[in-house]
Amino acid sequence: MSTVRISGKVITSICSLFAVLVLTGCGGSPETPTGSRSPGAPAASTPSGRKININTAILSELDRIEAELAVPALSNRIQAERPYASPDELVAKKVLTPEQYARVKDQLTVEDIVLTGEAKDIDYMTKLGLMRGHLLVARELLVGGESAAALPHIGHPIEEIYLDIEGQLDERGVAQFKSILLELQQLVRFSATSPKVAPALAAALAAIDGAMNALPVTQRRSPAFVLQVIDQLLEAAGTEYAAAVNDGRIAARIEYEDSRGFVTYAAQLFADIAPTLQASDPTAARQLSAGLAEIKRAWPSIAAPRTVVLTPDQVRVRIKDVERAGQKV
């Protein structure tokens, strides 16, 4: 009987000890699934600012690390070695030495973060730019009487991109315009020859412009800012173009058209800042202007050329040239 009583106490103390261990163990362990987003809750910040998600950050964000460690082309290297299950994989993949990693690890994460500051604005404008590129191509196709071909280019803005910026529109005080896009999509799908299509398309383009105008005009006119958006658009165009080409031919017209739209809009953005850039940095202005003209050769018309003018690799090289020229600004 005395044995039973001691056993009871022992069991209880073991259980409570176990409970304490489990609770303290849970404190720092990654029990919450990585990659989960906590809406509204700011990501953990470091003395120097917001953390950088090495799995999703754009080059200009990663440039912070590149600058801090003074390692040239580090941001490209970090992107090239994705994905990372955890920040310390940067060491395992020999992107950073252990010493370098120790210096910056508090700024790095693989969890979803809420973008802030310039990175957020670049991301915002890029997404609007992609939407605009899609609609520019849709307009070309509609004008050419090809409503069926135009339809995916109206769908993409809604399905792929709008969902991603929906939250930001409220934040920035921009009226939601999903219904405008939806109406345009339904018009083109069910009533392509209706006279309502042209004004609906104009309304959609105007809505995108309106959303872009939420950014301060000084930013939208700043070459340094706009060039980063142009880089993003060109990157998207390059990859889509690679998906379009097969066997020296344009095999997938949707991707050819997508990439054409992105490059077209990137060129328009450049034209907007060209005067300012010409005044401040004429060398860069000339290089960028020539570089963009070179890239555009791959898309001579809305209709895919019979033989490919530039291979995807050639396009990629030219895009890199433009990015490098832009980084010096």
């Binding site: 163990g25 699934p33 990659g35 799995n55 969902l163 990157e235 998207a236 379009a244």
Partner: protein, 334 residues
């Protein structure tokens, strides 16, 4: 009193033995499964555009196991890519795929394990990985991942059965049609009895983007298993993990020639639900089919929508005797 103590101690002791056995048993079963199943050497089985459907058939990806905080985490690395597949002598197709193969890797875990999928998108369009199973909405994989970006999906492998994953970026039918799909098998604790396990996905190809499929296939290459029959051992249990991901059609009715299979719907049981030689499967339905052939020879399998079958969705099993030779005279099998 003394008797009580011994009984309690004894019970504790037997309990520990039982616990050890429960932990060790799944491993033992898996070892047994590995040893007692004899897969005949394949015949000619060429690689097409970097994909080998004969290899894909029996290729199960168990990922990399890590121990984290006393928990087994099974980690998989998946990359969305764009590449071309030569579907036949004439038709090549721009595919969007996971890890350069269609179907994507057949991921496999045991129920209750934590699964971590590190997903990188190098496919051009935004893509995602949506898993069928039970998990949190943040892990549901419906948010697009930009080209060049990566994300981490993490969830517990639940419930046991045969499931799937696929891209969930609109238009989903196009993303799936281009090849962004794969099987996700969750084994019951303790596994299943030994068998020659095969993984197959039926899918369609809309070559001219008109919303209708022109070609179909088991495991990506139309007619591959017709031209290169799948060798299976006479009298050996076969366990087929079969998924239908043909978009844009009504359900297809999978048919196995000259035999009946035991059907475990969605793999959600250890015992068969029913037995038949046809099973109607809608898009994203997937089942376990168990059967064995007694007589050597070649036996076709295909959807019984015969136009679909004759457009590439057809294959054959070649039942070989214990000596491994393809069937000559069925009467000599033993």
């Amino acid at each position: 009193m003394k008797k009580e103590l011994y009984t309690r101690r004894g019970a504790l002791g037997w309990g520990l033995v039982g616990l050890a056995g429960a932990v060790a048993l799944p491993q033992a079963v898996r070892l047994l499964q590995g040893r007692s199943v004899s897969v005949p050497p394949p015949g000619e089985a060429p690689t097409v555009s970097g994909i080998n459907p004969m290899v894909v058939l029996r290729d199960f990806d168990y990922g990399t196991v890590r121990e984290e905080n006393g928990r087994t985490v099974r980690e998989f690395r998946i990359e969305a890519r764009t590449s071309t597949i030569q579907l036949n002598r004439v038709v090549s197709f721009v595919s969007w795929n996971f890890n350069g193969r269609v179907p994507g890797p057949t991921l496999r875990a045991t129920a209750g394990e934590r699964v971590r999928v590190v997903f990188l998108n190098r496919g051009g369009h935004a893509h995602s990985m949506h898993f069928h199973g039970i998990h949190a909405s943040t892990m549901d994989g419906v948010r697009p991942v930009r080209n060049g970006a990566a994300t981490i999906y993490e969830f517990d492998a639940e419930p046991y059965g045969v499931h799937l994953y696929h891209c969930h970026v609109a238009p989903v039918a196009r993303h799936i049609g281009k090849g962004l799909y794969g099987l996700f098998i969750v084994d019951p604790p303790g596994g299943r009895p030994p068998a020659d396990e095969l993984a197959m996905v039926m899918a369609g190809y809309d070559l001219d983007e008109n919303g209708r499929n022109e070609l179909y296939a088991f495991n990506a290459i139309p007619d591959y298993y017709m031209q290169h029959p799948i060798r299976i051992r006479q009298d050996q249990p076969v366990r087929l993990y079969l998924l239908n991901l043909i978009e844009g059609e009504a359900a297809v009715t999978f048919h196995l020639h000259a035999n009946f299979f035991r059907l475990i719907r969605t793999g959600r049981s250890l015992d068969p639900h029913e037995e038949s030689d046809v099973v109607t499967m809608g898009t994203a339905e997937r089942h376990i089919l168990e059967f064995s052939y007694h007589l050597p020879g070649r036996y076709m399998f295909h959807p019984h929508q015969d136009t679909i079958a004759e457009s590439g969705c057809m294959g054959q099993f070649e039942v070989v005797g214990a000596d491994g030779a393809p069937a000559g005279d069925p009467g000599h099998g033993h």
